[in-house]
């Protein structure tokens, strides 16, 4: 299983763009990258997933360089409600399997 490394915490002011980078140096060819968001006292919620280049949805963008050894979750114009823990996962594409969540990045949005 590919190990991921993320910053433990980040602070941002409201209205700013936030970029959270995850390192996954030993990602395998068939691995995909997924990001989840977790609010206090709730289960994680899927945000976005990708394999390479750039993926965008209504919530966030995901940037993956050509070597795929890292990925960056970009949250545009964050608000206080984006305060949460963000987890980066790397796992086999399309497979049922053991999935490892790291400790995540705790994002604190400041008014």
């Amino acid at each position: 299983l590919a190990k991921t490394t993320q910053p433990i915490s980040m602070d941002s002011y409201e209205g700013q763009e936030v970029n959270i980078t995850c390192s996954h140096n030993n990602i395998a060819t068939n691995d995909y990258i997924t990001w989840y968001q977790q609010f206090p006292s709730q289960g994680p919620r899927f945000i976005i997933q990708g394999y390479k280049t750039k993926v965008k949805n209504e919530v966030a963008s995901l940037f993956i360089p050509a070597d795929r050894k890292s990925s960056t979750l970009s949250l545009p114009r964050v608000s206080l409600s984006d305060t949460a823990v963000y987890y980066c996962l790397v796992a086999l594409f399309g497979g049922y399997q053991k999935v490892t969540f790291g400790t995540g990045t705790k994002l604190q949005v400041i008014p």
Binding site: Q42, G43, P44, G94, Y96, K98, F101
Partner: protein, 114 residues
């Protein structure tokens, strides 16, 4: 539609007692996952089911932990002879055959062992 549900939402038990935690996945979701999250920590994988079988039980912390799934639907996580270190939030998730990469999580069961 209905999401993943878990019961009970909270459970307080005495050390040494057995507990059963229940998970009802989203209808039609063939994969089911159990995780544990201690206060302020990340998620710890426990076990996953593909249908009724559990290909990977490597995350179960000890032989006091067991899980089963019947009818490809409801799953029960059982902890025997609970210990204080078992106190945590136990989260269940499920995923569909069409999009196995996206897990839908339940609200969790908060277990406190006194």
């Amino acid at each position: 539609g209905a999401g993943v549900s878990q019961s009970p939402s909270n459970k307080v038990t005495e050390k040494g007692k057995d507990v059963e935690l229940r998970c009802d996945p989203i209808s039609g979701h063939t994969a089911l996952y159990w995780y544990r999250q201690s206060l302020g920590q990340g998620l710890e994988f426990l076990i996953y089911f593909q249908g009724n079988s559990a290909p990977d039980k490597s995350g179960l912390p000890s032989d006091r932990f067991s899980a089963e799934r019947t009818g490809g639907s409801v799953s029960t996580l059982t902890i025997q002879r609970t210990q204080q270190e078992d106190s945590a939030v136990y989260l269940c998730a499920s995923s569909s055959p069409r999009d196995r990469n996206e897990q839908y999580f339940g609200p969790g069961t908060r277990l406190t062992v006194t």
